[in-house]
Amino acid sequence: MHEVRAGHGRPWSRVPLWAMLVATVATVATVATSAAAATSTGQSPPTTPSASQPGSLVDGLPRPSLEGLEPEIRGQIEDARAAVEQLGEQHGPQNHARAIGTLGQLYHAYGLVEAAMRCYQIAAAATVDLQWSYYLAHTLREQGDFAASNEHLAEMLRRGGDTVPEVLFYLGANLLELGRVDEAEQSFQKGLELAPEEVAFVAGLGEVALARGEHQLAVERLERALAAVPAADRLYYPLGQAYRALGDLEKARLALSQFGAVGIKPRDPLLADLDALRVGSTPHTLSGRIAFAAGRFAEAAEAFQRAVDARPEDPGAHVNLATALDRLGRRDEAIEHNRRAVELAPEARTAHYNLGVLLRLQGEHAGSVRHLGEALRLEPEDHPARLELAATYRAAGDLAAAAGQAHQVREADPLNEEAWWQEASALVDIGQLSAAQRVLEDGLQALPRSLRLMRGLARLYASSPHADQRDPERAVELYSRLWEAEPSVANALSFARALERVGRCPESADLVGKVLATKGLEEVYTAEQLAALRRLEEDLASGAACVD
């Protein structure tokens, strides 16, 4: 689903077999052209492995329903279909079959997999081109028929495809799905020998080792893959599982904490060709969303741009593009596309919301208030928009308005931690510390496990500038709960400080001692700060700090 291409620039064209295979027909746009070219050059087809009878190819052509498809896509497929049907046998069955294979690519590109499969079957049977077998293997794989998929991949290997690492990769992946783990390993190993730079094989070998219960070997292989492609953070999951099985729970947790959505698979120029076939906006929107979800924002922006090009009047396409551009740090362009969306659809709530957020970040508070206000006019229960409005008011210095907006949200949704926090923060900034304290107390009643509210309240009780609001014992209680829930250095020191304030120096010293025993502390604190912490521990242990 979400993969990084891990090939290190191995040009597809350097692979002689594929170079030979894909020379004939590349895109659907060339179906008719290739037919015409075949006619004009009078090229004679190579020997057909299983010659088809004239007319039989078109007879077997699949005709999936095109009802409901975008007009451009429907037209594209209809044109290609017509070209294939008009091509006729006079140009040779091989050329005809290639055109059918190319039609299959088009079906494949739009998810019409059964039709694609049938076209590939025709093309694979009637030509010497191995690419149709490759595509056919892919469609079978997509249908879960791993065994049949492997028959085609194996046939490719027999006919010389063993120079193409991708064939070995998918062969191995299919074998793994079929539980034929040893054979999968052989395939991945062979692929790795052929393309030592292809990290997908290493990752595959890691999965093989995990499936076999060879956890140490799995760790070694998966660590190796991750070292080569750190972005492939999905590998942290099998890595974490392997560490867990080895009993190294600390490393397991560490690995799982880095787990993400980006996987790894080899470069695959033939599959990439399918992407290039797509027209219309929907397919690009779909691939853009997939790339976006995987964190590949540049790729997402490209796809969304293609969707905008295909449908410049679609406000949603502009908003999607704007979102990806924003992630790339191209905020001005993001604002422009959101503005365009609002022009096209004045009631585009998401575009108003996005503009409100982006304009605040640009310091354009009036514009931000206007657009967030519009989003709220369209949906008064849009709590995120109201909280953004509160944030804008706060940024603009209108703290009372900020508190008011946040208050509205937490009244409507008492479990909205952000709303409690924003209201309290605005009240603190106004200087209404008592009111902030009340808000935080109420918030903690509603959300007893909110560490953020707990921390804020503890801080107020511990060190409010107004003596009558300080309550050292309550601060100790809150810091104690924080420490229990989240045993971090920061919480330990805050708790220690609170204990010191109520004269519980030995306990405070104990906590500081724990902090000083923490691994990696020198990466956080300077030598001077560490020395100060040690002196503090000594003072606390001796009771001097409390006496002072």
């Binding site: 409901g68 499936a211 998401t350 970040l361 902090v515």
Partner: protein, 608 residues
């Protein structure tokens, strides 16, 4: 899953201003994030009875033995996701006559006349239905008793959970709807709606729910799995890869937080752990509860559609819930991909004494087998289990484990039905989305193989959803009832009919002992072996099954039970002599009634 493209744009993630960054309560301490760091093999005896040679014995009962219920999806033609989501069913003894009645969840008209709002329950004509088991003389027969069964749910129904929440010895129902859920209290053969008094009318999009005594206070709590924030007034439009309008997937909606209701013991519930559940929302479809790590408390495993599954564990003292799915190995598949989980089943498939997890998924994904180690850790063994590739073609929903061919092993039944239009034809309904249901026969070594030797009804292309297993005819084997979206109910009777079987209807103070594990000890050469079963009504998809447990002689390697081990979360294990069981009958055993004198000390308790 491959998500249809949406027209709805992506919202920029709220860039929360960070008031804390410069605010009063900035902690002076830097580096706040730095944390202080501080079984013997229970392999099966050689009991293989040539599974492949035996023929499945599930046979359709014509007309579903009188259950003439037909689900109405209320399809609007707008391809609204709720239309293809329902629905489930429950098998329970409503009238206390010791046989299983059938409760069926109905959909009906989805939107009001304006088409922009959900039709409220009070204006709905469609109702859930109740069928009483009136079987006689070995012939299954059900009678529609809806009209006299009290007010059944009239919401746009999704699923149902069963359990005795008020400890009166009668099994109650919780019905999930698109909109307010209903709690139906069993008052002896009929129900009364006590939703408002109980405070459990969550109005989200509930699908699966489970009764579980999470805090071990003797009262069943309730976990409700919610799907997504669907709105009739703001329909999301989704598209297939071809650009054709299609049903949306889960990622088109904000996932809706699940709900946990703690039973106060006075007929009412309180919502608990909202902070935790809101912090990790998912598109919940399947729910089960069991003590997976053997610590004496049950965990709740939630199968989420398209996002990571959740495993909720109660913190010490009941102070909160912790989500531990990723570490436990149940959140994603072996490659780290979240799958579109629909149905779920827990059982000891490989006979090692530990519960394993089986999850059904969208087409293009395998169904997934996760082997448990008894300590709360699971490993994805799908590739070697034999259940993977076949499931790739189908979208699995309801599922359950039963000995379908009488060889003593637990086989797996999965009912299927697509959730997207047929790409080739653009058609929905049975024609475009119907799929065959599948039976996977256990080979006896913890692996499975699909079989086509099934009753023809299982091969029909239908859009199946809920599935529940139960011994409808009281003959010691599990029969099957499943529902079809916008279609009829199917009933398959098992004709395994074991000559020798032993059943247990385990209770705690009169209520079914949900979550208990029952170990049937039998002799094998050189010692003893234990076959474990869980008393449960949860699992599958949106459905509730028979909590009674039965084992056949084939399951015990042709032997008879020497003893029965009872494990209840938080209670000392009891061992009862096998003589307390009766061949060919369900024996009701009340855990509380056992008393200390009846306890037999467990000298060599099996590993947990």
């Amino acid at each position: 899953m491959t998500e249809p493209a949406q027209s709805s744009p992506i919202a920029i993630e709220a860039k929360r201003s960070s008031p804390a960054a410069t605010s009063l309560w900035d902690l002076a301490v830097a580096g706040a994030a730095l944390a202080l760091l501080a079984a013997p093999a229970w392999g099966r005896a050689a009991v293989s009875q040539a599974a492949a040679e035996e023929q499945p014995t599930l046979r359709e009962v014509p007309g579903a033995a009188g259950i003439d219920f037909v689900h109405d999806a209320g399809a609007t033609g707008q391809l609204l996701l709720p239309e293809i989501t329902g629905s489930g069913l429950a098998l329970l003894d409503v009238d206390g006559d010791d046989d299983l009645d059938v409760y069926l969840v109905q959909g009906g008209q989805l939107l009001d006349e304006g088409g922009a709002a959900l039709l409220p329950a009070e204006r709905r004509t469609a109702s859930d239905r109740l069928y009483r088991n009136d079987s006689r003389g070995g012939e299954l027969r059900f009678v529609d008793v809806t009209e006299t069964a009290g007010p059944l749910s009239r919401g746009y129904g999704m699923g149902v959970a069963s359990g005795d929440f008020d400890n009166d010895g009668r099994v109650d129902l919780y019905v999930t709807n698109l909109g307010p859920n209903r709690l139906l209290r069993n008052v002896g053969g009929r129900f009364e709606d006590v939703t408002e008094a109980a405070g459990v009318g969550d109005d989200g999009w509930g699908v699966s729910a489970a009764f579980v005594d999470l805090d071990r206070d003797g009262w069943l709590d309730l976990y409700v799995g919610n799907y997504g924030e669907w709105s009739a007034s703001e329909p999301v439009r989704c598209y297939a890869k071809s650009s054709r309008l299609d049903y949306c997937g889960p990622l088109a909606y904000q996932p809706e937080p699940d709900v946990f209701y703690r039973n106060r013991g006075d007929g009412s519930f309180e919502s608990r752990y909202q902070t935790e559940l809101r912090s990790a929302p998912g598109a919940a479809l399947g729910v089960v509860a069991s003590d997976l790590d053997g610590d004496g408390f049950q965990e709740i495993l939630v199968a989420n559609d398209g996002t990571a599954n959740h495993l909720w564990k109660l913190l010490r003292g009941g102070t909160g819930l912790e989500e531990i799915g990723l570490f436990a190995g149940v959140a994603v598949n072996r490659s780290g991909r979240p799958e579109a989980s629909m149905g779920i089943d827990l059982a000891d498939y490989d006979g090692d004494g530990h519960e394993d997890v089986f999850l059904t998924h969208l087409d293009g994904e395998t169904n997934t087998m996760l082997r448990g180690d008894g300590g709360g850790s699971f490993s994805d063994t799908t590739p070697t289990s034999g259940i993977g590739p076949d499931g790739y073609r189908w979208t699995g929903f309801g599922t359950g484990s039963l000995d379908a061919d009488g060889d003593g092993d637990l086989d797996l039944l999965v009912v299927n039905g697509a959730v997207r239009l047929d790409p080739s034809t653009g058609k929905g309904g049975v024609e475009g989305m119907g799929q065959p249901n599948r039976l996977y026969l256990a080979r006896g070594d913890g692996t499975f193989e699909p079989t086509d030797a099934v009753d023809p009804v299982l091969s029909l292309r239908e859009v199946s959803r809920g599935l529940a297993l139960g011994d409808l005819d009281g003959d010691g084997d599990l029969d099957v009832v499943y529902s079809n979206n916008d279609g009829p109910v199917r009933l398959l009777r098992s004709s395994v009919d074991p000559e020798l079987w032993w059943g247990v209807d385990l209770r705690i103070a009169g209520r079914p002992a949900l979550g208990a594990r029952l170990g049937f000890v039998h002799a094998v050469p050189g010692g003893e072996r234990v076959v474990w079963r869980r008393a449960h009504s949860d699992g599958s998809y949106a459905s509730a099954g028979d909590p009674r447990v039965a084992v056949s002689a084939a399951m015990l390697a042709g032997s008879v039970p020497r003893a029965l081990l009872l494990r209840l979360p938080g209670a000392a294990e009891r061992r009862l002599e096998g003589a307390r069981l009766t061949a060919g009958a369900y024996v009701r055993i009340d855990f509380e009634g056992l008393g200390t004198n009846a306890d037999v000390p467990v000298a060599d308790a099996p590993p947990r």
